[in-house]
């Protein structure tokens, strides 16, 4: 939205293509505060932030296609997308990629044990409890002390579910100090550092996990295993930029970030295709995403030269 609004200052036609049924992306399910201090001068929740941006979009003459899924982006800047009207083709003078990221899964950390119901990534649980109105579990073990893990520890506790503990493989917690305090200490949720889950136990649903201390090489130390009874494992083990479309367009990826290689105008290696936000590299704060997106939007508009 930020890139579109900035671009709309300079060009005639701006189109946002969104696969969900509303704009806002993950902001809609981030009902906690911490957004907008820089952009709007207030401490806002994710939905408030998205709503303010939606107002901006509405005030400018920006076209929006919702429920529309982009299948491919060509280096000629032709976009092929699909929705319930059929396959549509859009020609763009310049494109800004802002597809965000996806969560690292259990497989990417090879967490052994039973592959049963009750192993969720943080974002999935967040969606269930904040949007879908479901209880995805009663007793949680959280792996990963990044902000999303901490925020979910608080959310779950507030809404009446039990969090047995947050387990972090590194010796230091990963998230903001504010979140350690407001999410764990406020609710007396244990934080266990240098500890990881080494096995999931369960028959059809999670029944317990085995946790173990790790040494300085992050290897489990035998003899330190403990069994923690639970029915849900929440994984907050990292985010990866979602770049199928980017590489499909032929843009080179940066091995270190998993996002596209860009120059200082946020242009990828394909002329006229720009990238910003979590698709470029994982950000901590939404406000920083907006700053970056506005720059990318401006550059994309420059490239389009008024079109």
């Amino acid at each position: 939205m930020a890139a579109a609004c900035k671009a709309a200052e300079k060009v005639r036609k701006v189109l946002i293509i969104e696969r969900n049924d509303s704009l806002g992306g993950v902001l809609n399910q981030c009902i906690h505060t911490g957004f907008g201090l820089h952009c709007f001068g207030e401490n806002l929740t994710g939905p408030e932030f998205a709503d303010l941006q939606q107002d901006q979009v509405n005030n400018l003459d920006i076209d929006v296609f919702l429920n529309t899924f982009v299948i491919k982006v060509l280096p000629t800047r032709e976009i092929v997308a699909v929705n319930s009207d059929g396959v549509i083709s859009v020609s763009a003078t310049s494109i800004v990629l802002a597809m965000g990221c996806r969560e690292r899964t259990r497989e990417s950390i090879v967490l052994p044990g039973a592959r049963v119901a009750g192993v969720f990534t943080a974002g999935t649980v967040q969606r269930y409890i904040n949007i879908e109105n479901f209880v995805p579990g009663n007793k949680f073990v959280i792996l990963g002390s990044g902000d999303i893990g901490l925020i979910m520890a608080r959310r779950l506790t507030l809404e009446g579910m039990e969090v047995k503990g947050v387990y972090e493989i590194m010796p230091e917690p990963n998230g903001l100090r504010r979140n350690i305090k407001n999410c764990l200490e406020d609710f007396h949720i244990p934080l266990c550092l240098s500890t990881t889950i080494t096995k999931i136990i369960g028959k059809d649903r999670v029944q317990a996990v085995v946790v173990s201390k790790v040494d300085k090489n992050l290897n489990p130390v035998s003899g330190t295993e403990k069994i923690i009874e639970c029915d849900t494992v929440l994984l907050a083990v990292g985010l990866i930029p979602e770049n199928e479309l980017t590489s499909g367009a032929g843009a080179a990826l940066n091995q270190a970030t998993n996002g596209p290689l860009v120059d200082d105008t946020y242009q990828t290696t394909i002329p006229g295709i720009f990238a910003c936000g979590n698709v470029l590299h994982v950000h901590d704060l939404a406000d920083n995403v907006v700053v970056e997106a506005e720059k990318a939007g401006e550059q994309a508009a420059e490239y389009a030269g008024g079109n």
């Binding site: 699909v82 009207d85 396959v87 497989e107 090879v110 592959r115 119901a117 999935t124 479901f134 009663n138």
Partner: protein, 484 residues
């Protein structure tokens, strides 16, 4: 109480293959599957390789059925519309000793009737498979080896069988078997059934079934296998499967490309407890260590899924299949110990079982109403834009992408639920449509799949299972439970 002529206990690829074969006859056949879906046992943990038949020892039942089954696949895949690709494979070696093993396999292959085998070396190896490790010196090249999707094959067998009159009962665990004058009484977790003949295709539970029938004739040990699937966009793009020459540690480990396009690796083989299908770190490590010998680049590939399966081995049976009429209980037929090359042999096993029935006095009357062909829609992800426009015009639900990683539409998920042997679980939807098999492992789409299952099956989302009873994903409404 329901009456059937033949009752097949077990709805895996073997049981469903037999059911399909028996659906050519007018005698009434039923399949009893204890899990919520077919192919949910050993079949679910299978890697999908169709072995050509050079590995089994000549004279064994495996040897008799392997090449035959493998060569039946191309026509069957066309008839029943399931994924199949004749990729070929190579068993590769680095040293002289390996060459001896390869020559041994070649000899066995010749005796087993496997066509077109070649021992090759040098550049030819890398022409056939450019990803192969340049240190590889020798290879047994088997052009008829192939890959399939074991779940979709099982579903194809089952659906064709059901279309042709076979009854399929899922969530139907046989708990007691009583011998009657003219057959058997099967007491199950659902209702009672009376059948004249029983085919025991119960996978790792075949010895339990056998015991239930008073025919304690064999004991099953379970061989567990870990498998790995890599990201589709990996740098590694193999045209065929590679096997190392076998030691006891590496036998059966194949590195190849799954029919869906993902590089895949599997499986290990180690005796574990019955029913243990956990993922083991040791297994994953073992696979990765071995794989980089075959294709050095594999270590840069990202793991998308690590899963595991278990296969039944009949003890003291020469590691062979145990397909024979019960020695103790007339009317009971065992199809047990179907480990590798079970998938390759499945069509041949089905024919062999029918022969066995006929030889043992079972009357089978060919029906005029058999439809050999089964149709299936191409996945949306594989359609052209014209095909996509067409199908969306018919039903806009095909324009709603649910699984982004694999590009699976709401329309396809609905089809999978309402199909002849429809999905009733999240796992069932996954195996029929690929929704949830991609990079994010259903992180984005699971809630939508649950919503669609609940809507189409007219059940509450909290009643939707991941796999079997007790595998609920959601426990209830968070707020306003009384209002809903």
């Amino acid at each position: 109480m329901k009456d059937f002529d033949i009752g097949i206990i077990g709805g895996g690829i073997i049981g469903c293959g037999i059911a399909r074969e028996l659906s050519r006859y007018s005698e009434k056949t039923a399949v009893f599957e204890k899990f919520a879906d077919i192919g949910a046992g050993t079949t679910k943990g299978n890697g999908g390789f169709i072995h050509a038949g050079y590995d089994p020892f000549p004279g064994t039942l495996k040897a008799k059925l392997n090449s035959k089954g493998c060569l039946m696949y191309p026509d069957l895949a066309r008839e029943l519309n399931f994924p199949y690709k004749k990729t070929g494979c190579m068993v590769v070696g680095f040293h002289e000793d390996d060459l001896h093993s390869i020559e041994e396999l070649y000899k066995r292959g010749q005796e087993n009737g496997v066509p077109d085998l070649e021992i090759i070396s040098g550049d030819r190896i890398f022409e056939l498979e450019p990803e192969a490790n340049r240190e590889i010196r020798y290879a047994l090249y088997s052009p008829n080896s192939a890959v399939t999707d074991p779940y979709k094959t099982t579903i194809a067998f089952a659906e064709n069988a059901v279309t042709n009159g076979v009854r399929l009962f899922r969530n139907c665990e046989v708990r007691e078997i009583r011998k009657l004058d003219d057959g058997f009484l099967l007491k199950t977790s659902r209702i009672d059934f009376q059948v004249k003949y029983v085919i025991n295709a119960a996978g790792i539970y075949a010895d339990d079934i056998s015991q239930m029938a008073g025919a304690e004739e064999f004991h099953i040990i379970c061989k567990h296998g870990d498998l790995i699937i890599f990201d589709k966009s990996s740098e590694v793009n193999m045209s065929m499967s590679l096997f190392p020459t076998s030691t006891s540690a590496t036998k059966g480990i194949a590195l190849g490309t799954k029919i869906a396009g993902n590089p895949s690796l599997g499986s290990t083989s180690i005796i574990r407890e019955k029913g243990d299908i956990d993922t083991y770190k040791e297994g994953v490590d073992q696979l990765l260590a071995g794989a980089s010998r075959l294709v050095t680049n594999i270590k840069n590939c990202k793991i998308v899924r690590a899963f595991a399966g278990t296969r039944a081995v009949v003890e003291n049976n020469n590691n062979d299949f145990y397909i024979k009429p019960s020695r103790r209980v007339p009317g009971l037929f065992h199809v047990a110990g179907i480990q590798s090359p079970g998938v390759a042999c499945a069509p041949a096993i089905a024919e062999y079982v029918v022969e066995m029935l006929l030889e043992n006095g079972v009357r089978l009357t060919t029906t005029d109403y058999f439809t050999a062909v089964r149709t299936d829609e191409k996945p949306f992800a594989e359609m052209s834009d014209e095909e996509r426009n067409e199908i969306i015009a018919r039903n806009p639900a095909y324009g709603k992408i649910v699984c982004r990683c694999e590009m699976v539409t709401e329309g396809e998920i609905m089809d999978a639920i309402h199909s002849v042997v429809g999905a009733t679980t999240v796992g069932g939807v996954k195996r029929r449509t690929r929704a949830g098999m991609g990079r994010c492992q259903s992180g984005f789409c699971q809630h939508r799949v649950i919503e669609i299952l609940a809507r189409e099956l007219q059940i509450d989302p909290c009643e939707v299972y991941y796999e079997n009873e007790g595998s609920n994903l959601l426990f209830g409404r968070l707020k306003g439970a009384d209002i809903q």
